[in-house]
């Protein structure tokens, strides 16, 4: 086995690659000042590029990166902390939150399905796209129940998250949305965890409302979408 082979096949290669890709993506984001270059988007592209160049299967990478990757579960649970710290604000805005959740949640699914219908997409594709704005494990389960493909739904969720987060600051700026709660709610509702990760960096209230929108839309979608579209 060549030195290069043993280097890239070592289990630590995956962890080293992940840490390096993250730091490179964050440095690029901060130095360039371009909000489109979201760290998750750039980091993901770096990881995929290296894996493809080195001929490494994603499953092998994922297995070796597990010592870091498992923390996503506890990190999701940890979103309860900013939610708790902004609970007074959330209670105060209870009705605006409910109304926005219903209107924006229905709107995003309606626009998606309308475009699918206009462009003649197959039912399987349309139903894989319908739950694209919610967090991945929920979207995969829901897609399967309504006649979509779970693997395809997973890709849509990721694309929506990275593209939504990249476009978010620009679109919210154009619509003159300055209210931190409103910005956060839009990030979480449209780009789930990836939007929430960005919102937490804008400020704490923004992050809390993103986590709120992500969890509310996730739960509502999981309960209602199979019933409405199934």
């Amino acid at each position: 086995m060549s030195a290069w082979q043993s280097f890239i096949e070592h289990p630590l290669f995956a962890i080293g690659l992940t840490l390096l890709a993250f730091q490179a993506a964050v440095a690029l984001y901060q130095r360039s000042g371009w909000l489109v270059l979201q760290p998750v988007l750039v980091g993901m592209l770096l990881i995929v590029a290296v894996l493809v160049l080195c001929g490494i299967d994603y499953r092998d990478y994922r297995q070796d990166a597990e010592p870091i990757a498992w923390l996503l579960g506890p990190a999701t649970v940890a979103l309860a902390v900013p939610l708790r710290q902004n609970l007074a604000r959330i209670r105060q805005l209870f009705w605006p939150i409910v109304i926005t959740l219903v209107v924006a949640g229905v709107l995003t699914v309606a626009v998606t399905l309308a475009i699918c219908w206009l462009l003649g997409a197959s039912d399987a594709l349309a139903m894989s796209l319908a739950p694209k704005s919610v967090t991945m494990p929920i979207a995969m389960l829901v897609a399967e129940q309504i006649g979509g493909v779970a693997a395809l739904a997973a890709v849509m969720v990721m694309l929506t998250g990275v593209i939504g987060t990249a476009l978010g600051p620009l679109l919210l700026g154009l619509a003159r949305v300055e209210h931190p709660a409103a910005r956060g709610f839009s990030y979480g509702l449209n780009a789930h965890a990836i939007g929430t990760a960005h919102a937490l960096q804008e400020n704490q209230e923004c992050g809390a409302f993103a986590a709120l929108a992500m969890s509310l839309l996730g739960v509502v979608t999981a309960v209602l979408m199979p019933w409405l579209l199934g």
């Binding site: 993901m44 999701t76 649970v77 902390v81 709107l107 849509m156 919210l172 209210h179 449209n190 990760a197």
Partner: protein
């Protein structure tokens, strides 16, 4: 810090158990999030170790997400055939919903604020 991480892991475990037994439509971490929020509402404040663990994990949330996001490479073939429709639907829904969602909540929040005064 470790006490906090333990609490988060424990709640994810409880969430996963609840998901396996009673709520198959909701993933374990999401149920864990809701359980922790309910617990913290009763407790009144966030304990220091939990706050520290949450701050570290949430700071590195993009790092954790990019590992999972790279999974896109396993099913890109599924995507390539229908890339046009996918991108059109995805972009249209984001271009409409991101500004509408933000604008609506801001409008309703400001209107409520104005009525309270």
């Amino acid at each position: 810090m470790l006490k906090g991480l333990f609490v988060l892991v424990l709640l994810q475990l409880l969430g996963a158990t609840a998901s396996a037994l009673w709520l198959p439509m909701l993933p374990g971490p999401i149920i864990g999030l809701m359980l922790l929020l309910v617990g913290l509402m009763f407790r009144g404040s966030v304990p220091e170790p939990l706050q520290q663990a949450a701050a570290v994990l949430l700071k590195y949330l993009p790092l954790l997400l990019m590992i999972h996001a790279a999974g896109i490479m396993t099913s890109y073939e599924l995507l390539l055939g229908e890339l046009g429709v996918v991108m059109a639907a995805l972009l249209a829904s984001l271009l409409v919903t991101i500004p509408v969602c933000g604008w609506l909540l801001q409008f309703l929040a400001r209107r409520m604020g104005a009525m309270d005064k």
